[in-house]
Symmetry: C2
Subunit: 434 residues, 2 copies
């Protein structure tokens, strides 16, 4: 990323801080309406005493900083660059912090994401999909024409895709970098065999609109487990992504310049880096690019269990990630001794990778650990809380919930309060764009 | 709803039409940026030819109008009023249309919803929960003080809740209407027995801040089926909500004025209305209030199967609802003969009440039915499409998907194009606020 790219993003983020708080942000205290984000942050409002409406999802400032630092250091030590998947947060100011901590670029999932990133001045973007929509491609050509510093690469995994891209990119001012995506058996996108991979690479080499920059993959689609068999499968798959880049080089199919080899969700990035940092053939200038996004906030569910820096760490000598995303919801009903209902539901909290985890109880201003309570299910606007025999939970109390899956948490909140280490003083706000 | 209430909402909706389209609306064509919603609608852009970015979820104008008309007529014929649950769409202009079609008020799920409704001038709101948050209650007291025409009622289901409300509403200019909620065995919120119901009602009668206006319930939490046993359970439960209102009246616990008796999601509203329109005791002035919200768009999944006006209709002589919400996503990858991947995922489409349903294939500008294709799973940004042996699906084609569960569709889209009967000419836009 050029320094001008970082500057443009920083400027756009600063401009965004001038946005004024109002009713659009459903949990934010009405008393803060009319203030800019910076002015509201300066108030150091209390989540429980200053008029916020439950439920709310908050970010921990210290945990965010810890995770940013931890991942940046580890990537630097291992000699890989990070292009974190921005779809996790869709928060340009978090992109800016990731870049300030050394990230090389930001990864996107679709053309709409790229457009939002570009609006905020992100200057190096990996689109982790084959983009075949003529509308998106024509828009992309315009972006490339408007900004000579804009660096973009996306995946290709079919000859037909290469043809569609070539047709729609006829107006592009320079060839678009593409990586051939290798898919795994039982996986998601990506060519399933080397014959197809070569056919696609050869089509790219012949395309006036495209330039073969390397190979990519996504190991996260292959497993949801971290046993030895699963990890071996991941390593073997990444080895294939690596081998494909080497054989493209041998066949002379790659464009001049650095070769990108990229993979990495947030579950197996240790294995990805182990494979991608093994010695490359002499003369092959490879840039291994990791794309993990969920490390930023970590979680209290899926990633806690499976992350290489989670509850069962697979990396030694590095501090674990800390969960930076938590929800608070109030007990609005306790219809029986065994059941309470919280004011939060599927519109507020994630439910696709496990239910939220009751962790703390706030009663009369005092916060204590809450054990033995579970969430069996959620409705659109309600969370069911199963109470043990001696539960202290009463109507009016507040429950802190850990969440599983940052991606499906952020997308429910246009503005998230950032809290100090006390967990309830609001010292900042993060704006998301979904 | 007073005419001033409708006027305020209409004016706020008209003002909202001045909002200008830009990058915040990820699927909307960049070429429409800078236009107001009305200006953009006047362009009559084509979803596929004019630069929209996939995926998109669209509303069918004719289907919306049909469902609005159908539900309005049926409620009028059956002598019930409708306070549709606004959480389904969170779209003030759809609230305005529901009110224009005779709806009595709008239902909300939490204080944040009420605040958004009030911002848009909705003047009669049912909050279908017990509100015990002092922040929300103090804000509510201010709203009631600021607008003598604002009519509000919410649920109570515990003596503790009544106490918390009474404390926090000390500044309210007039008593707040409340309904005692009856819950069913295995249900959600609401008192589980009549002794508790009477205790809560008596606490309300003694509260200077509250006024007992009737009873309420939610039958949708009791079943997800429509067999005879399930329907009998629903009817018996609603009968209990009804009986509770009668016994409150007999005990002299109700405030003067009309008695509200309310229930009704979108799965069993036929049974709710059957029970709530049986003759009431002489002299009891009961207003039966239905709260169904999903009828507005209906769906191609859960509600199609279970709605009284769905695929297995339980109401005679009335046209069925028509699905008004559909998604379009492009095929970006076809890694094998059995699998394609669409550019849409859990950030774009609902997945909590069944997977989206492949319905149409758009190839080279021609649209045809797509049969034998299924969606086995979704990732954050990808939809897996299982292909039959003779599938015509290729990279670059577009697939129309039916969706299940309107509530978890709307909340993923801040701006939805409304399409004409051809399914692809954009004639309007609907703004949501989540």
């Amino acid at each position: 990323m050029t320094s001008s790219g970082k500057t443009a993003l920083d400027a756009a983020v600063r401009a965004g801080r001038g946005e004024r708080i109002d009713w659009r942000f459903r949990s934010i205290a009405p008393a803060l309406a009319g203030l800019t984000l910076d002015e509201a942050a300066a108030r150091r409002a209390n989540l429980f005493g200053d008029g916020f409406f439950g439920p709310f999802v908050v970010l921990g400032a210290a945990e965010l900083a810890h995770n940013l630092r931890t991942m940046a250091r580890w990537c630097a030590e291992r000699g890989v660059v990070l292009a974190p998947h921005g779809k996790t947060t869709m928060a340009p100011e978090l992109f800016a912090r990731q870049l300030a901590y050394g990230a090389w670029g930001i990864t996107a999932a679709n053309a709409g994401h790229v457009r939002i990133y570009r609006t905020f001045g992100v200057s190096r973007i990996l689109l982790a999909n084959q983009l075949v929509d003529p509308s998106g491609l024509r828009w992309l050509a315009g972006e490339l024409a408007a900004d000579p510093d804009f660096e973009f690469a996306c995946w290709v995994d079919s000859v037909r895709g290469v043809e569609l891209m070539t047709d729609a990119l006829s107006e592009a001012p320079r060839p678009v970098d593409v990586l051939v995506e290798l898919g795994g058996e039982g996986g998601r996108t990506g060519v399933r065999d080397s014959a197809t991979a070569y056919a696609v690479a050869e089509a790219v080499a012949k395309s006036p609109a495209l330039r073969l920059r390397g190979t990519g993959g996504y190991e996260g689609a292959l497993s949801h487990h971290s046993d030895t068999t699963a990890l071996a499968k991941i390593s073997s798959y990444i080895d294939g992504v690596r081998d494909l880049a080497v054989s493209f080089a041998e066949k002379g199919l790659l464009a001049d310049g650095p070769v990108y080899v990229t993979a990495g969700g947030s579950a197996y990035f240790d294995r990805v880096v182990d494979e991608l940092t093994k010695p490359w053939p002499d003369g092959l200038d490879v840039l291994p690019i990791l794309r993990s996004g969920a490390y930023l906030t970590h979680d209290d569910g899926f990633y806690r269990e499976i992350s290489p820096l989670g509850a069962h760490p697979r990396i030694n000598g590095v501090e674990r990630f800390r969960p930076a995303l938590h929800a608070w919801a109030q007990v609005t009903s306790k219809p029986s001794a065994e059941l309470a209902l919280l004011t939060a539901g599927k519109r507020d909290l994630p439910y696709d990778e496990g239910m939220p985890e009751p962790q703390l109880l706030r009663k009369d201003g005092m916060v204590n650990a809450l054990t033995g309570h579970t969430v069996p299910k959620m409705n659109d606007q309600h969370t069911f809380l199963t109470l043990p025999a001696d539960s202290p939970v009463e109507v009016g109390d507040w429950v802190r919930l850990g969440v599983s899956h940052p991606c499906t948490t952020f997308d429910k909140w246009p503005l998230l309060p950032v809290v100090d280490t006390d967990g309830e003083t609001v010292i900042d706000f993060v704006r998301t764009w979904f």
